[in-house]
Symmetry: D2
Subunit: 334 residues, 4 copies
Amino acid sequence: MLNVALIGAGFIGRVHARCVAASETARLEAVFDVDSVAAATLAAEYGARAAGSLAQVLDDPRSEAVIIAAPSSTHGELARNCARAGKPFLCEKPLDTDLDAARRTVREVEQAGLFAAIGFNRRFDEQHALLRRGVAQGEVGRVEMLHLTSRSQSPPTLAYVAASGGQLRDKGSHFFDLACWIGGERPEQIYALGGCLIEPRFAEYGDVDTAMIILRMPSGALCHLNFSRRTAYGYDERIEVFGSEGRLESRHPVPVDVALYRGDTIRQQGLHRHWFERMERTYATQLEAFVAALTGGEASTPGLRDGLVAEIIAERGVQSLRSGRAQRIDYDFD
Amino acid sequence: MLNVALIGAGFIGRVHARCVAASETARLEAVFDVDSVAAATLAAEYGARAAGSLAQVLDDPRSEAVIIAAPSSTHGELARNCARAGKPFLCEKPLDTDLDAARRTVREVEQAGLFAAIGFNRRFDEQHALLRRGVAQGEVGRVEMLHLTSRSQSPPTLAYVAASGGQLRDKGSHFFDLACWIGGERPEQIYALGGCLIEPRFAEYGDVDTAMIILRMPSGALCHLNFSRRTAYGYDERIEVFGSEGRLESRHPVPVDVALYRGDTIRQQGLHRHWFERMERTYATQLEAFVAALTGGEASTPGLRDGLVAEIIAERGVQSLRSGRAQRIDYDFD
Amino acid sequence: MLNVALIGAGFIGRVHARCVAASETARLEAVFDVDSVAAATLAAEYGARAAGSLAQVLDDPRSEAVIIAAPSSTHGELARNCARAGKPFLCEKPLDTDLDAARRTVREVEQAGLFAAIGFNRRFDEQHALLRRGVAQGEVGRVEMLHLTSRSQSPPTLAYVAASGGQLRDKGSHFFDLACWIGGERPEQIYALGGCLIEPRFAEYGDVDTAMIILRMPSGALCHLNFSRRTAYGYDERIEVFGSEGRLESRHPVPVDVALYRGDTIRQQGLHRHWFERMERTYATQLEAFVAALTGGEASTPGLRDGLVAEIIAERGVQSLRSGRAQRIDYDFD
Amino acid sequence: MLNVALIGAGFIGRVHARCVAASETARLEAVFDVDSVAAATLAAEYGARAAGSLAQVLDDPRSEAVIIAAPSSTHGELARNCARAGKPFLCEKPLDTDLDAARRTVREVEQAGLFAAIGFNRRFDEQHALLRRGVAQGEVGRVEMLHLTSRSQSPPTLAYVAASGGQLRDKGSHFFDLACWIGGERPEQIYALGGCLIEPRFAEYGDVDTAMIILRMPSGALCHLNFSRRTAYGYDERIEVFGSEGRLESRHPVPVDVALYRGDTIRQQGLHRHWFERMERTYATQLEAFVAALTGGEASTPGLRDGLVAEIIAERGVQSLRSGRAQRIDYDFD
């Protein structure tokens, strides 16, 4: 039973709290949030300790591990603090506010010899994981093309956009990570094209709401990604891998499979309404993987370097968006 | 190149004429119909000889084989005439007007040592044939349940009903044959229940427009059939085989696979509108099998005994419909 | 917050306990089981009171409602005891060991003026409920045919079979209820045919493992059901309604929608492995409906009479199985 | 009845011959090919005149229209000859060997006031046409993203590649045309990335076998295309349109819908094996549209300018492939 402290009592913090509470291998020990009322409420709900300060989490031996679910701008500092305090942690992405800071964070955590995971929860989606296993087992042969689609149901607020780092970092990093993980290699070039087709005001923040991207992999494989901030038909996330021996597809599941045959059409029920309905289960699986890694099991969770890689790709993607030119991607580590 | 004479220039006669004309192994040699204008028109269309009498077909050595596509009530006599004239033939079902006559016809044709096929064209549907091959190869293990569905798009005219022999003979015989062919055995018992839910006037002809049937096979396997004379969504024909090792399904294909995702539904294009759109291709495949059987190839077409078996089942089905009791089925031959 | 006592700490009792614990409208107050260790363990797990006797449940005002999840043979007596104690209850099916007893139980509960629900959890399946709503709203017009399929993944033990009342009562009653609920009418006739195709020893208990049934409804609509105790491909439950204006289908959902295109086939992931995976969520929804009915909301849960109706149909079905003849169904109440 | 002359008796010429022969509105009048034996054979097969020279086609008043199905390198000159002879024509793509020549051809034909069509047969695919109609009727609202996929089943020979103009011209032009036709606008920029992942020797001809492309439309809409010269699972062609109000998809149809449920997978039959099986029917529809346009019906066939537009896009695509940079596209006409 791993005693877990949670930092951050907002939406995603509550998701983590619920997962820890429902887990048979972890226990919610403490909750901290700068909003002490939110922390106290959440702690009470799950019988956990409400920590009055960050120190009451990091310096307290009762907490064996930390989940960082605070605002993005604080991730890096919190991660480094965990490293100093010797607390292994699972940190929501992004790792830090900019690449230099993220690199420093990775270095500090690695020097501390600490186990740390980045919250790329989509790797724990049962469908995506099955697809990846198929690719790894050679079911499609040599990978030649990848296609990743992610289209959210409704656009975020301007306030969210302002703090998000932009679509390529905010949404993109999840899918850049999936592309690397599934394809088994890191892209060496990115070309990104986008625009504000849904909400022109996103442009004021240098952001786009619709984007298409092509990555070139060292093997020569090509990877297409497309993102949208709004659909008229629910949450649309799909992955397709095309290879020399076949094609694997993680499709958009239809959660309620009822169909009406009438006239010259068939009317089926549609997709999950919201990304969270589609992805909710990944948080529990992600937690189990984190706990397993800490308690001697096999560590199969994405690490901080995976987070850094995704941010590097996103960064070069933004440069491509702005310059209109393909950008070479270097990973100045390893 | 087999020279084929066609008897009957109505709808289904024209279908056969088109198939023969398009075939690379057969040639339309002659056409006969009691309506000599129809015969002449159809013959002219495909460059065939318009026979002025039945004798001009049966006694003319230029015709090597006959397709019988005349009205149902004339099938038996035409078949026996072919037998006497030594012309192998493919006869549209039913074989004859009643069971005794059909038995006599089979006997005469067999005594003449003549090759003859019955027009159970659905055996040549690519889907059904693939399903049957799967069953024969053991893909579902031992067969335990079969389900056959056939629902036509619009009810026939009363005149058609009057001459049809009723739903169980007219439509049913095709599916009783499929059940035997796929299941590899003949039912020993039938229970049928039906009613006039669509067109009450069918009752005046002792007919039903909606029926459900259970067959019991000697192996213990159970077979469900359901028929309707009208759907609001096109032609619906499906077969399902459930066995100890799996389930095989010949589904209703969607000929135009376009889908609209919008709101909380997905709208797909529907089924084939009409049975003929769904089944058209079977006539060409059936013809090739008939020609192959006559020209030394492997004979895999249903024979007159298959036609007789289906009619026996239909007959007992009608008795069950009327009596409200399951009927034992005996096949007093073999 | 409704305080609920649970009677029965076996598999299905534990399912109910978990639902109550997770509910925001109910609280697990007490657990009773003749196996006091099982009761104590389950009670401890969810912070509930372990009742030492049935009286400690029924006579204790802290329990406001009861869930009866004890062995089938005890349902009736427990239900009558609840009635006497004035405790509204939700009782797993079947209502009682035989029809006379079940009728007496219904009468006693109704005379006590008590709210009571029967555990026909499948009515709370999101798919089936949506299908039923569509039928009620006229999406398929007048209902002409229904098809219900339920095939379990692996056969029960002989001990289970011995106590189950047989396939038509044990499994069938759920689907007879669905047929009535969806079709909006009660069948007036049943014909059932079955056999032991999977496990010959079931015959020693007068049971079958494979069955096909036709119900005739007062409107003339026909209803097919088919049951199997074993599949080679997971749990297969489907409902189809065919009407004058269209066809509605509650299909077997594919929980993990990953497909491999390779050679001349497409390999998809299959169905839910076990009925419980498919139906788990219905227990929570059923509970919410029960609580809502008790706390002033709209009562949309199946009642004891629905349980009785299903048992009457099952009873006549067994008579049909044995006699080989269709049986008229009378509901001597209302 | 339009009397049609065919120039070219190779594979695609034979396809056209068959369509004309089967048509009820056109008649195959003459066939010409530099290979006079091929021309004579094909002419004999369909009862047409074998022309001994091009002049015997163009100067003969019996031919009312011409289908140009000769090798690509001869298209432009043949088209100009038709223009001079006053024969309306349907020309297989590409229009000419290079853009300047193609522009000259368009100019000459337009000055001759002649009706001429380009063989973009995919516009006549029932699925794509239905999708396009849906877009035009606003079913997806404003178009924001398009996705076009075309993956052939087996790579062409090196000889074919040498004469093909490369993947972007040979295969690409069809899909560039579809993108314009469906999206209702012409791209203003193209970025293309590709490689020889299947057959390294294609590189010797400056060609690629795998490519990904992004087009930017004047409206801001983004369009992805991906091409491959080989799949392990048949012919894969799909189109998807994402808009503000929904998503329309022309999926890869499954021609034989048979499925096996067994273990934890479902095995369906796969896609069409070859592009021609998938697209065969478009040739007949294309012919009908051409005849209709010539005989006073509504002209809805793609014209020479559509061919030119697609070639301009392909040309800029090749420049992008080679330079690694996005290319602006100007259409210096209109």
